[in-house]
């Protein structure tokens, strides 16, 4: 049985990307935005489920709308990376579609954390939560690297550079958000003893 492409991508990124770019698909924006929409549904519903422990439709829809900024930022970051790849063999929408096909590590991490929090009484220490971020982070880096090599047709050096750029922008956006919303500056000052 053929596994779905999203799952094949996390198991064998380079090989799967080769198969996907060989498919005779005409990229459209509608098609490109399907996976970002799916990610918005996953994050918005999961956060609502975990926070409210209720899933009335209005709350879920509002959660999806509010948290849609996460895939939106990811699309923008993706466009920057794709735009930096000169001579790519495919259209921009098709590249966005293929980049987002690698969403599974982060989607599963989100859902596992929400599942543990909602359905078990096992307390997850903050250190464990933070350390567990390494798994999807490393996994996604490998997928993005494979995407740059195969889908964008970059040289190994250029692919490394674009992967670093993608991850740097992603983590900068993440920390900027955390910094803005959680009173991070006083915490840093306290940490350094200032």
């Amino acid at each position: 049985m053929l596994l779905p492409p999203d799952l094949r991508l996390v198991l064998s990124p380079t090989e799967t990307y080769r198969q996907l770019i060989a498919e005779p698909v005409r990229g459209t924006w509608l098609r490109a935005l399907e996976r970002p929409a799916l990610v918005a549904v996953i994050i918005g519903t999961a956060v609502t489920l975990s926070s409210a422990r209720r899933v009335p439709l209005d709350l879920v829809l509002m959660g999806i709308v509010c948290w849609a900024f996460v895939p939106l930022v990811q699309v923008l970051i993706g466009l920057v990376v794709i735009g930096r790849a000169r001579g790519r063999p495919m259209s921009v929408p098709r590249c966005v579609e293929l980049l987002f096909a690698g969403h599974l590590p982060w989607s599963l991490w989100t859902l596992v954390m929400v599942g543990l929090d909602t359905f078990t009484t096992v307390p997850i220490p903050l250190t464990v939560q933070v350390l567990s971020l390494l798994v999807p982070a490393v996994w996604t880096t490998m997928i993005v690297s494979a995407f740059c090599r195969t889908a964008l047709g970059c040289t190994p050096a250029r692919a490394r550079m674009l992967t670093v750029t993608h991850q740097a922008m992603t983590w900068t956006a993440f920390f900027a958000y955390v910094f803005l919303v959680s009173g991070f500056w006083p915490r840093i000052l306290a940490f350094v003893g200032a």
């Binding site: 899933v55 009335p56 959680s182």
Partner: protein
């Protein structure tokens, strides 16, 4: 479309439908003791955009569903979310929504409730408490375990309340630190209010830990006055009541009536179905 994808979408739809059907408001009877009305409150609630999961304009309705009469929206170092929540709330029909802030300083986190403008966090706790009072609000020491207990004796004496029941007190080691801080605060101010707060972010439920207030009038002024006078008792889940012994004795007969509503089996199944469907959808993706 593959069978797995169709099943995942149907599962999600069924879970959401089941969630909607079982989404009831728990029945509650008003409790009055010696002329005081007993309210349930949660004074440490974070909202989106912030590090909370639910937008402020949805929090009042949510509070109804978890059996709360009053909440304070307390995002870090800002009052915008609280003001948005209050503006969207319907005071005549639902729980009270108060504007608050979690003043996130270097060695203390302080909840200001009943304020309008953000308080400067870059000052000692004593100054932040004075600024909260200057705006007519009340100041509550937030999760005052080690690292967040930077209150000198004057600041301790000025505090209106201390979180004695908090999700961190569900761990016995942390609970000892909260108890020790509360004892220190009592030596400086014997009437300091015992507060129960869920510190609600993205991990529910809101009202997991809550405060029972004995109020003269069920409005913002009545709530603020009850905290100022220390007419409160804190509690986590269905655990023991924490606070001044005479108040705990008064509320003890109403323990069960005041307990947070339980999640029904059907509600849990709905959540589980939604979660499993999301996992399946993530794996199968939108296309083959």
């Amino acid at each position: 479309m593959s069978v797995a994808r169709i099943l995942a979408i149907c599962g999600l739809a069924a879970g959401l439908a089941m969630g909607a059907i079982t989404d009831t408001v728990p029945p509650r009877k008003p409790i009055t003791i010696e002329g005081y009305q007993v309210l349930s409150g949660d004074f440490h609630v974070h909202a989106f955009v912030g590090d909370g999961g639910i937008p402020p304009w949805m929090l009042q309705r949510h509070a109804t569903h978890v059996g709360l009469d009053v909440i304070a929206i307390t995002n870090h170092n800002q009052t915008l979310a609280g003001r948005l929540g209050r503006a969207a709330a319907q005071p005549s029909t639902g729980p009270l929504v108060l504007v608050g802030e979690e003043i996130t300083g270097r060695d203390y986190h302080l909840i200001g409730v009943g304020i309008e403008r953000p308080i400067n966090w870059d000052q000692p706790a004593r100054g932040a408490i004075a600024d909260v009072h200057a705006q007519g609000g009340v100041a509550i020491a937030a999760h005052p375990m080690h690292g967040f207990d930077g209150y000198d004796p004057v600041a301790l004496a000025d505090l209106d309340g201390v979180e004695v029941a908090h999700r961190d007190t569900l761990s016995s080691a942390m609970s000892l630190q909260f108890d020790e801080f509360y004892r220190r605060a009592l030596t400086q101010n014997p009437e300091v209010a015992a507060i129960g707060s869920s510190d609600f972010h993205t991990s529910g439920p809101m009202g997991l830990c809550r405060t029972y207030l004995l109020v003269r009038e069920p409005n913002e002024a009545g709530v603020i006055q009850a905290i100022r006078d220390g007419r409160t008792v804190g509690r986590c889940e269905s655990g023991r009541l924490r606070g001044r012994p005479e108040l705990v004795r008064l509320l003890e007969p109403y323990r069960d009536a005041l307990a947070p509503p339980d999640e029904s089996l059907a509600q849990t199944l709905a959540l589980l179905l939604v979660w499993l469907s999301l996992v399946a959808l993530a794996i199968v993706g939108p296309r083959s």
